[in-house]
Every structure is written in C-alpha cells, then in structure tokens.
C-alpha cells in the first residue's frame, strides 16, 4: 500500500474521526454525502456498486474490508454511485481465486474515495442514535490536502438525500434488453441491481427502461408484467414514476422491490416515513405473515411504508421482526405486490428468492 495519508471524516454534528485516506482522491480533496452504515460482513463490492447508495457514504461495520479482492461478476451496476466508503482496515493483500483486482485498485479505477483506520464502531453508535448524518472526508496532507474547517463546512452544506431526485442520476439513459425467457417483463429502472435483472432474466425477457418511461410506452412493449426496481433516496421525489404506476395498476401484474415497493404504496395513496436510521444489513429477520416463516433478509432503505396508510387496499405480507416495520404488501383488488427488502440478496441470504417465482406465477395467472 502507498504510504499513509492522514485523513479525517467530519459529520454535520461536528464530530471528527481520524483516519487514513484510501482509494481515489476526490475533487477538491473532499468527498461528502449522507453517512450510513452497513453491517454485512462480506459483500463490500456489491454494496459499493449498488445504485441505491447514490448520495451516500457507506460505513462498513466489519473491520477488514478488501480481503477477497474484487471480481467483475460481483458488480451490481454499470458503475459505482456511493460517494465514498469509511472502513476500519483495508486489506493490504487480498486472496481469493475469483478476484481480478484489489479493492483499492477497484476504487481508484471507479473514482471512489475512502477513509480507513476509523473507529467505525464509535461512528456506527453515533449514527444509530443520531440517524443518518451528512458528512465529509478527505486527506489532510498531500496535493489535495483539505482541512477540518473545510470538511466541517462541506458537511454542513451537504443536502443529504431528502428532497433530492437521486433516481434521475442513476437510471439508465436508454432501454436495453436482457434474457430470452418466455415471459416478457418491463423493469422500471430506479437504480436496478444486476442481481435483480439476472433473477428476472432467468425466466423472462426483460426490457429495462428509464424511470421516466410513461405507461403507454411500457404497455406498448406488451409485457406480461411490470417490475419496479430498487433505487436511492426519497420516493416522493419520483412523482412521474408514481403516476406511471397508478396508471398501470389493474392493467398488468406488478412486482416492486425496495424503492419500487414505496412507489407502489404512494401510487395507492399510501404514505411514507423516514426511519430513524433505516435498515442497512444482511441479517434482518422478516416474517412472512402468510406462512409464519422467518426469512433472513438483505436490507438497505431509510424510508418505509406506513402500514395503516395502505391497509384499505393492501394486506401487509411481511414484517421486520426487529422493529415491526412493514416489509411487504399485496394489493387485494389488483395483481400487484412488493417487498421492502432484497430477495435478490447480493450481498446477503437467499431466503427470499421465492418472491421472483411468485411474480412469475402472478404473471402466469394474470392475477
């Protein structure tokens, strides 16, 4: 590893964390965003390339990051959208037969900055209590050197993710097709993860289309079903998509994940709340209210659906056992269902993969 560049992370509440700079050097020496944490012990590459992290700086609670390097198969999107990573320790040497390059090389290649050597547990405890906070980090020495003052200012200036349309930054510019399955699915891309596309493509021909694609255009592709993808940030910032879904409801089976789940709720006039901290990990117990079985799930969201606000039209199908947050719903009057967690995992357990088969079945029966 190149020799150590002292760096610091400053949060909007003024707290400062010492560390060492790693990865790419950010423009003007400062990376800023909404600081969140993820407790998954492996899967850093999937997380870094997950578009849902657009606008956010991800703290990894597991101290050793980079141990098994990176492999292009594990990318969750065409690039990286996180604003930076905060870790305790970056592996100096990686070891795994699948790996193609080290995490550090990968970060530099994708222009992602990071800070290592941080007391990430202190940071996590702080975020747990204060909720996600805007923050900024950067090297304190070297050509791009910044200062604690500059970082403090940057953290204060950082808007965070509320009220910003981050989807527009991550959605595909033009439609593309994946898979050759019998069924036809149109996937509205709010920041779709590759693992989801692959799951759908395993039984369908999937047209991935921009988030702003109007209903008519979607129906013109005469799909058997429409998929609403995961994505970053605040669902109220994509009114156009909400309108599209409202129009599609009843005309065609719909399945939504994560942001897609929230968009579906808003389309039936449900309401959304921002969670104190949100769910970011791969170990959350979710109970399937229909079977009573518990699924260990992969989660990454700050906003959640208010159960009562949708109860008029939907049944709550999944509940997070840690805090009772709504994790899934099924509409009673039209063929549409959605979950807040990530059945495609990546990273995380495969316990919820059955939901893709349910979508397939729903399309078969037309609801």
């Amino acid at each position: 590893m190149s020799e150590i560049l002292p760096a610091a992370l400053v949060l909007a509440d003024g707290s400062v964390f010492e560390g060492e700079h790693l990865g790419a050097v950010p423009q003007r020496g400062i990376a800023s965003g909404e600081v969140v944490f993820n407790t998954a012990m492996a899967g850093y590459q999937e997380i870094i390339t997950d578009p849902s992290y657009a606008g956010q700086i991800v703290t990894f609670t597991y101290p050793h990051i980079g141990n098994y390097g990176t492999a292009s198969d594990d990318n969750e999107s065409r690039g990286t959208f996180t604003r930076g990573i905060v870790i305790r320790d970056l592996a100096r040497r990686h070891s795994n037969w699948r790996s193609e390059q080290s995490l550090e090389a990968f970060l530099i290649g994708h222009g992602v900055a990071g800070i290592a050597g941080v007391d990430t547990r202190r940071l996590t405890r702080l975020l747990r209590d204060a909720g996600a906070l805007p923050g900024a980090f950067g090297p304190l020495v070297g050509d791009a050197a910044t200062t604690i003052e500059a970082l403090t200012a940057a953290a204060a200036a950082e808007p965070g993710t509320d009220g910003v349309d981050l989807v527009a930054q991550v959605t595909t510019e033009s439609p593309y097709q994946v898979g050759s399955g019998a069924r036809r699915v149109v996937a509205l891309d709010f920041g779709i993860k590759t693992a989801i596309v692959e799951q759908l493509a395993s039984f369908a021909t999937v047209d991935v289309v921009p988030a702003s694609t109007p209903a008519a255009e979607i129906l013109a592709r005469n799909p058997d079903g429409v998929f609403l993808s995961n994505g970053p940030g605040d669902p109220t910032q994509v009114p156009y998509a909400i309108a599209t879904v409202r129009e599609l409801l009843g005309q065609i089976p719909i399945f939504g994940i994560c942001l897609g789940h929230q968009v579906l709720a808003l389309a039936i006039d449900g309401s959304i709340t921002k969670l104190p901290f949100g769910h970011h990990g791969a170990n959350h117990p979710v109970r399937n209210e229909r079977t009573g079985e518990v699924e260990i799930t992969s989660q990454n969201h700050n906003f959640a659906v208010e159960p009562e606000s949708v109860s008029a039209r939907a049944d709550i199908t999944h509940i997070n056992l840690n805090d009772g947050v709504c994790q899934g719903m099924a509409l009673r009057d039209v063929p549409a269902f959605s979950v807040q967690h990530h059945p495609e995992a990546s990273p995380g357990p495969h316990d919820s993969a059955y939901l893709f088969q349910e979508f397939d079945r729903l399309m078969a029966t037309g609801g």
């Binding site: 492996a42 098994y68 405890r125 990990g281 170990n283 079985e293 990273p347």
Partner: protein, 1091 residues
C-alpha cells in the same frame, strides 16, 4: 407455537469426565440448558459422572445424579425419576451415543421417554459417515470420494479404486480418535487397523485426502418451524488435514466473498433438513479448494459442539440456552435476544471484531509422542481472543496461551525459532504443530516470501500477509532507539497491531514498567468495546467487553462495589474445569452478597465466560498488562486471585497489594518458596520429607548423598507435578537434572527458569497420601472441607490418583492430627480463604508434602461429597465475612458426617497417545475426573471405575493378569485371593506366578517375558483372554519395566490397575457388588441424608 405443555420432567445427560475432544464446553452447554429448562418451569433431572462440573451443582437441577454414564445406571435413573423426555444434544458425543444405546436397548420405549432435540434416525444419519455421505450426495452436495470397510480386505479393495493419499476415519467416535492420513501402503495398513479397532462398530471410512484445502465451519440453529439461521462462520487458519479442534480458527470467515459464503450457507441448511435435525444447534464443516472454489462437505454434528461454545462466546448468542428452548417447542422468533432485549433470536449475529482461537496441547507430558497435528484431535484446551483486527486478535490469543509467549514472537520464547536454520524452518512450517504459527512469523521475519510460505504451509496468503504486517512492525520497533522516541501515533499503531507492553520492552530492552509509563504518557490507553451480536446496530444491555485501542470506550460506571475475579485461562492438564467451578461459584456468592462481580478470563469453553454468569465479563488475556487495564476502568474494591489455579496466583504480587483479597501474596510465596516453606513447617512443628534445593547436577548429587535414594526431583512454581521425577540412582538423577537445565518444555510454560532452583526430596515409599481442604476466615476460625485418603500411594500425583472421602483406612487419631496440622499451617500462613494441604503418612508417621493457600483441584469434589459450597464460602471469607456470619446466613451448615462414601477417580488420555507409557507417576497426566458414591468404599470405588470407563469384567469374561513388583507381592497376594474367591482365573509373569502358586493360588498360564517366545502378555490382551491387568512396576522411574504391558492394555481399553491398593479396593468392591444390587442416589437426596 410456544413451550410444550405435554412434558414435565426432562432428563439431561452430561458428557462425563473431561477427555481430549470433549472438555468443559459441555459444562457450559449443560449448565445453560439446565437453567433455560428450569426457567421454563420444567423439572430437570441431570445425569453426569463429572463432579468438577458446575452443571452438577445441586442448585442447577431438581435431581442431580453424579453416577456412571452407562445404560444400566441411566435405566435405573429413568426408573426412579420417570422423565417424559430425554434431551441428548447438549452432552456431546457421550450423551448422543448413550441416547442411541438407550433407544436400541428399548429403555426409552419401555418407560415411554421421548427423545427431544434430535431423533434416532437423524443422529444415525449424521454420525454414520457412510449414511451421511449418501444423504449429502442425494441432495446434490459434493463429498470426498470414499468407501467404507469393516475388514482389512475391504479396506485394501477401496484404495484400489481411490488410490493414496487417503484419510481413514472410524464411525461413532469423537475428536477424530483413531483417524489419520495415509500416504504410503505401510501407513495405510497401520492407520486402517487402528481405525477398525477404535470404532465401536468396527467400521472405517476411507476417503480421498484433500489435505491443504481451506476448512470452514458453520454453526447453524434450526427450530421446529424450519426456521434456520447461521450463528457464526469460522475459518481455519490451519488447512484441511489438521483437526478443527487442533486448528487455529478465526471468526468470521475472512477469505470468502459473499457469493461463496452464501453457497455454504445454503448447503448447511440443506444438510440439516436432510439429516432431519429437529431443533437446536448443529455444526457443519466444509472444505473449499483454494484454486477453483470446489466445495465439499466434511461432516455435521447434530448437537451442540466445541465450536458451538466458541461461536457463542464469539458472537454473544447463547446457542446452548436457545437450543434447549427450541427443544421444548419454541420457535426462534418467539425467543428474545438476551443482549439487545428488543430484537428476537431469529436473526444472524454480525460482529465488528475478529475472534481467534488457539488450542493448547500437552505433548510435553507424554514422552514418545511426536507432537504432530493431524485428523485426530490432541489438544487439551484452548484460548480465544477478541480484537478489532486479526493482528490484534491473534497477538492477544498468543499471550493468553500462557506458553511463555507475550504475543506473536518478539518475546524470550522465540529463542527456539531464532535458533533454527532456514532449511529446518522451511521443513517445520510444512507440518501442523503447536509451534507452526510462531515459525510462520519467524519465516516472515527472515524475508521468506508469502508465496513460498503459502506453498510450504498451505496457509492462506491473506493470513500470512496479516502476520507479516505484525512482523514488519516488530522490525520497525526493533529499529527505534528508545521507547521515548515513540510518538502517540506510533503507540496507537503498535497497540492496534496487538503488541503487548512486554513485547515492546523485549524489543527495545527496556523494563515493562517504563514501557507502560511511556505509553500512558502519550495517553494511549486501552478502550473497551462491547460484544453485542449486532455490530452496534442496536443498543446492547450486556456488559460483555474486550479491549482494543481506539477512540471510544463503552464501559458504563457501576453502581455497587465491584469485585474482580481472575479466571484460570486455558484448560491444561493440572489446571482445568475445577478452577472455573471455583471462579463461577465465587461470582455467584459475591453477587448474592450484594457485590457487582467482574469476571476476567480467556477460555471460551467455560461457564465463567458466559455473559450472564457475572455482572460484567472481560474476555481478555490474564496477563499483568491486560488485568491492570481492566482495574483502571473498573476500579474494583478487590481482586480474587486464589480461585483460578496458578494463572492468577502468579500475578498476585504484580497487582496493587491492597487490592488482592484474602491470603497475602507474601504468604503465597512462603508456601511456594522452598526455604521459607521449610521455616514455616519448623515453626509449626510438622515434619517434611528430608530434602534440599540444588542448582546443577553436582549440587543435586550432594543432596542425594545426604537424603538417600529414591529421591524426588522437581522444579518449584509449577502445577500438576510438571517435570517431576522419582530417581533411584545417580545416573537417573544426573539425567533428570540435565533435562531440567535445558530450556526443554518448561521454559515455554513459564514454569522453570534458571534462577529457580530444583527441589530434591526424599521419596517416601509406600506412604498413604492424604489431601485436606479447608477454609479460614480473618478472625482465625477454620472449617475443614474434607479429608481425602488416596487409593494410590504417595508418588502418584494427587491429580492422577483415586481418593476416598471420608478416609477409609486412616486411624481417627491420624485424621485428627492432619486436621490439626492443617489448622496450624493455615494460621501460620495467615490464610484468609481456601487452603489445601497434602500429606504423606508412612507407617503411621505424618509428613507434609505441600500446602497450597488457594483453591485446590478437589474443591468441587469435596463440595459434592459433603454438600458444603467450599468455593462460595471461600469467596465470602475473602470478601470480609467470617465463618460465623456464613453460619448465621445458612451458607455454611454444621460439619457434615456423610453416611455414604465418595470416590474420585482420574481419567487419563493414554488412548490418544499410544506411544506414551500408561504408568502413573508424580507428574499429573489426567485430563478429567469422575465420582462414584455409594454406601461402602468398595462399591463407591467400583462405581468410580465404571464411570471412568474401566468397568471391571466378571470372572467368566476373562482372566486377571498379574505382574507385581517384589515389594508388592505380599499385599498383592491378599488381593489375588479375593479375586480367586470370586472365581477369576489368573495368568501372571514368571516371578509373580511363582509367588501366587506358593500362596496356594492357581495360575493357568505363566506368561513368558516379551521376546522369550510363546504367547506374551500383549498377545493375550489382544486376543481378549485377559480382561483385567494388575501391573505394579518396580519403582516409578523413567524407564519403568512392563511398560509394553500397560501400553497394550491402554490401547485395548482393558482395565489397568497399577497399584496394589487399587487392586484391593477393586476386590472389595467386586465382593460387595456380588451381593448388593445397583442403587442410584441424587445429590439432593444424599445431602438431605447428611443434614
């Protein structure tokens, strides 16, 4: 679903004596289970032959049977207690096998007892290696290619197809006993034969060897709604080929991507479903080919295991407790997570630190063994350490070992490795041994590349690079002029890489105190983080802490006065579960008395390291630096050092004197230091065996000159008679002295060191040894716990000899004298708390062998035999209470006069070390103990033999083999006479045969000496004609005669009595048992009878 209401009484089977492969982790799991089940309002009946366990405290079950774990005894217990259910998954392989036997014997059906936790079908699918493989192939998992053999011919046929190298593993065995890797046809024949012998159903599995692959373990829990979660993932640093129990293991998995890990997770779940584990915890082992990721499943244990204990301590998830609740009907989502209180147990713990386990071995006690690690487990204990990173974690684990290391090398203990030349070193790292980790570090220091080192050792490059980071920093430190030149940043990095102040002191040749001062000068102090199962995502209520060096410390100030209890560190021969028992009892007693208790220990197998045993738990190495760090944050009013064996005792005078509770460090020294001790004995007027100290052979010979032979040679400040020897002439004495002089194994143990002279005593031949345990309070009042008469004569380590309470043969006058002397010694040493005195009574004359002003190995046994909670009492006395106070409270009852007899018998690991002589001597070698209780000494002794696995076969099953030393012939004949009356036939070696015939006894065969032609003892043994061996060697010197007989007996598992005393006791028992049928009694019943 909730708890089952259709069952009331549940029988729990413990794992019996501590043996290699099955240690006190099953006391941890059994204790948790007992608590959990009683919390749920069930009536718990417990059977366990091991008196040293905490689970066998009368308070933990409604009926506690400390009885032999045999089908016959269990049947009697079931008959008496009529349990509705049997929970077999928390008592290790012993409980599982016993449950299967009870099923096959139809006992469970007869008394309609339901097997809960795992059913018979599931157990056999998991345990029968062939069945298991077929099941796994059926669900599409890969297993190593293999075949099953029941005979040598079948075995040969199999390697015909799969070729060599292969691994050979017997069915139904634990800890890999009798398994091995064979690369040549010769090795193959040897290992296969052993394997067939080791398997109770003489079945072995022969398997393609995948030694060198990465090895992983997953700890899984399943409930009856088929919810499954992974509690912990573990990666072995030592690749396939070294038993997981002998491997350095790390949690969580470090070198697999999520993609690969999820494959293992899915496979583990599929495995449990197919095997049919109904509910509870299981352990699944995988191997992964580092070159292409090919995954094969190695085995699964359908029960709580050693790794479950590790996983529980590593994550804070109480596997055994939850397993017990699942067994009675709960589902995971119905059980709250103890640590967060808010969230359910149906989740997967995540950790934000690195856990390292390093095993501890005892090869030095078994001369003749090669000390190479393989597929059969040989370690006797383990340590676990928690750090934020692997370097910190592994360094903490190294210094927890108490093997002379103060970290990963950079300590005096590295001398051995520095001395090796490059070629030696390269050869050494290719083989799994207790030293490999340190040899890897030394290789890196010499600049061996990670590629080469990986090629030699097969250890994953990630681990090697992490070790290299430590080594490179060591080199950087070495290059610093003085400790003063280290900046705050340097210190932070040094400590974050896990370096102890002692290592820094060694590298910069400064004093430990100066180093510590310099560090604190920069304000670089230990910070304490919390083990919380969720990587801080939720708030944790459980103060379970570990140290690291970061920004924030999470320790909350306490409310009540705090007392710190220092545990006993890794289990080892001579210091095991007994001491954990004492520490845990102290914690309970002091908590009840209104103190906040702070436990410090680094042994993951123990009850003391359960987060709910004490008010606060620090999972830390027990070294001066680490303990002082904790004292700084906890500010206890006192520290207890005398209940955890030698480990904390060694620290006594390094801690602030005013904090050491109970007996003063100076008294502790007075008892250990030869000259001071002699002075004490003179003042008190008790004779010691004549003797003196010597430095070097010539002085030793001079001493021997005065006191005469036989003489006993020993280092001071060691436990378990370490390196102690009886010598019969100058030659043996010289050899013994040179052995001690060299660094040998003792330097490593931190036991012997040059400035500590060797003690040479007159060896008292044919003396009766007696142990006395007592407690004394600050007013000078004393209470005797028990007087134990040993069955074997002095010369056999107290830890290895059977003992009887109350003393069966000693004259009351002698017993009174022993108690009186104990009182005088305790007073002279101003003991406050426990004291143990060992005596040798030679022809009615009393000698003191030693006094230990600390809790002794026998405390739990005494407590169970008499109903007196000795450790609790001792703890309270040290915390200021008087015996009268405790009587008033009712903690201490009137002096007990048990109407029954209790026998403690030692359990020895010779079957694991075929190359070692199975002869008992002054160096302790037993790993565990059992207890037999009955109405006569003979019956109690017989039970103890049964419990120890040496049930004596009847007269019609085979002959008794006699081979007596001349001095034993006279008494031996008396014993033989009784055997003859019982109808036993005899075979004997020539001289003994003569003596027996002369005494009018019939000897069928006079056995020729080895090599004299004809069928020798070994042949008779292996043909099963001889079923009991009585062999008392001439003397107990190094190369005692007849060792081939004892070795053969040990390998065959034939009951072996090496003293006449034991033979007599056995004879007595056999006579009595012929007329009195088996009776079982619960401790509660026994203690009732005494009151």
């Amino acid at each position: 679903m909730g708890r089952r209401t259709d069952i009331e009484t549940i029988l729990l089977i413990g794992s019996g004596p501590i043996v290699i492969g099955q240690a006190c982790e099953f006391d941890y799991s059994g204790t948790q289970a007992c608590r959990a089940l009683r919390e749920e309002g069930y009536r718990v009946v417990l059977a366990n032959s091991n008196p040293a366990t905490i689970m066998t405290d009368p308070d933990f079950a409604d009926a506690t049977y400390v009885e032999p774990l045999t089908v016959e005894v269990l049947t009697a217990i079931i008959e008496a207690e009529r349990p509705d259910a049997l929970l077999p998954t928390l008592g290790g392989q012993t409980a599982l096998n016993l449950a299967m036997d009870l099923v096959e014997a139809g006992v469970l059906d007869r008394y309609s007892v339901e097997l809960i936790g795992a059913d018979a079908e599931a157990i056999s699918t998991a345990e029968d290696r062939q069945k298991f493989k077929e099941a796994m192939i059926e669900i599409g998992l890969e297993v190593p290619r293999s075949g099953v053999a029941h005979t040598m011919d079948e075995a040969m046929a199999i390697i015909g197809d799969i070729g060599l190298p292969v691994v050979i593993r017997p069915a139904y065995i634990l800890g890999g006993r009798g398994t091995g890797i064979a690369s040549t046809p010769e090795e193959f024949e040897h290992v296969a034969a052993n394997g067939l012998a080791a398997s109770p159903i003489s079945e072995i599995l022969i398997e393609e060897s995948i030694a060198g692959w990465k090895e992983f373990e997953l700890e899984v829990m399943r409930d009856r709604a088929d919810n499954q979660v992974i509690i912990c993932s573990i990666e072995n640093l030592d690749p396939m080929g070294v038993h997981t129990g002998d491997s350095i293991t790390v949690a969580p998995i470090q070198t697999l991507s999520d993609v690969e890990y999820q494959v293992l997770r899915d496979a583990a779940f599929a495995c449990l479903r197919r095997v049919g584990v109904e509910t509870g915890g299981s352990n699944v082992q995988f191997a992964v080919n580092p070159d292409d990721g090919r995954v094969v499943i190695i085995e699964m244990n359908p029960r709580v295991s050693r790794s479950s204990a590790l996983a529980s301590k590593a994550t804070g998830f109480p596997i055994a407790k939850i397993a017990a609740k699942l067994a009675v009907g709960y589902t995971l989502d119905e059980i709250p997570n103890d640590i967060t209180k808010k969230t359910p147990s149906s989740f997967e713990p995540v950790i934000d630190y690195v856990v390292t386990k390093i095993p501890r071995w005892a090869f030095e006690k078994f001369p003749g063994t090669d000390g190479v690690l393989g597929t059969s487990m040989q370690s006797v204990g383990e340590v676990m350490a928690i750090g934020r990173t692997f370097p910190e974690s592994v360094q903490k684990a190294c210094r927890s070992l108490e093997a002379g290391h103060t970290g990963l090398n950079a300590s005096a203990a590295e001398a051995r490795f520095l001395a090796m030349d490059d070629a030696e070193l390269a050869a050494a790292v290719a083989v799994g041994t207790p030293d490999r980790l340190f040899q890897l570090a030394e290789s890196l220091r010499r600049g061996v590349t990670i590629e080469d080192l990986h090629h030699q050792s097969k250890v994953d490059p990630w681990f090697l690079d992490q070790l290299s980071i430590v080594v490179e920093h060591r080199q950087w430190l070495e290059a610093q002029p003085t400790v003063a030149s280290l900046s705050r940043a340097d210190w932070r990095r040094t400590k974050q890489l896990g370096f102890s102040d002692a290592q820094v002191a060694y590298l910069l040749s400064e004093s430990g105190d100066d180093v510590r001062a310099a560090r604190l000068g920069h304000g670089v102090q230990a910070t304490f983080k919390t083990v919380d199962t969720c990587a801080a995502e939720f708030e944790a209520n459980t103060p379970y802490h570990y140290s690291t060096y970061e920004d924030e410390s999470e320790v909350r100030p306490g409310t009540k006065p705090r007392i710190m209890i220092l545990g006993s560190g890794p289990n080892r021969i001579g210091q095991g579960i007994e001491f954990d028992y004492c520490c845990v009892h102290a914690s309970f007693a002091l908590r009840d008395a209104g103190f906040e208790t702070v436990m410090v220990n680094c042994n993951p197998e123990t009850v003391s390291t359960d987060y709910d045993t004490s008010d606060r738990l620090y999972f830390e190495p027990i070294t001066e630096e680490d303990v002082l760090n904790i004292i700084e944050v906890e500010k206890p009013i006192g520290v207890i050092v005398s209940l955890g064996g030698q480990t904390p005792l060694k620290l006594a005078d390094r801690l602030p004197a005013e904090l050491v509770l109970g007996t003063a460090p100076s008294s502790i020294d007075a008892a250990e230091d030869r000259d001071q001790w002699a002075a004490v004995c003179d003042r008190v007027g008790v004779p010691q065996p004549p003797g003196a100290t010597a430095i070097g052979a010539s002085e030793a010979l001079a001493v021997a000159e005065q006191i005469g032979y036989p003489a006993l040679v020993r280092p001071s400040y060691v436990l378990g008679g370490r390196a102690m020897e009886i010598v019969y002439d100058d030659v043996e004495l010289k050899r013994a002295m040179t052995a001690l002089g060299q660094d040998g194994s003792l330097g490593r143990e931190g036991g012997l060191s040059a400035e500590r002279p060797v003690l040479i005593d007159r060896f008292l031949e044919g003396a009766i040894e007696v142990d006395v345990d007592a407690v004394r309070d600050h007013t000078g009042a004393i209470a005797i716990g028990g007087v134990m008469e040993h069955v074997e004569e002095a010369g056999i380590h107290s830890g290895d000899s059977a003992c009887v309470l109350p003393p069966p043969t000693l004259a009351p006058a002698v017993v009174d004298e022993l108690m009186a002397i104990t009182g005088r010694l305790a007073a002279e040493l101003d003991v406050v708390g426990p004291i143990n005195v060992q005596f040798a009574v030679q022809r009615g004359e009393v000698f003191v062998i030693e006094a230990n002003p600390r809790a002794s190995r026998t405390v739990p046994f005494v407590s169970k035999a008499t109903g007196r909670p000795m450790a609790k009492v001792a703890a309270r006395l040290m915390a200021g209470a008087s015996l009268d106070d405790l009587r008033a409270e009712g903690l201490l009852g009137p002096d007990p006069h048990p109407p029954h007899w209790s026998v403690k018998e030692a359990v020895l690991p010779f079957n694991r070390f075929p190359a070692a002589d199975a002869l008992l001597g002054p160096e302790m070698r037993s790993t565990g103990e059992v207890m037999g209780v009955d109405l006569t000494p003979g019956l109690a002794f017989l039970k103890s033999q049964q419990a120890a696995g040496g049930a004596l076969p009847g007269p019609d099953e085979g002959a008794v083999f006699w081979s007596l030393a001349d001095r034993d012939k006279e008494e031996g004949i008396e014993a033989a006479r009784v055997f003859a009356e019982l109808g036993y036939r005899f075979v004997a070696t020539a001289g003994t045969a003569e003596a027996l015939t002369a005494a009018g006894l019939t000897v069928d065969i006079a056995v020729p000496k080895l090599g004299e032609g004809g069928r020798d003892a070994v042949a008779l043994l292996s043909d099963g004609e001889v079923t009991i061996v009585v062999n008392t060697p001439r003397g107990r010197g190094a190369r005692a005669d007849g060792d081939y007989i004892r070795t053969a007996a040990a390998q065959q598992g034939t009951p072996l009595l090496t003293t006449v005393a034991a033979a007599k006791a056995a004879a007595m028992g056999l006579t009595e048992s012929a007329t009195s049928p088996l009776q079982v009694r619960s401790l509660q019943q026994l203690h009732q009878e005494m009151a």
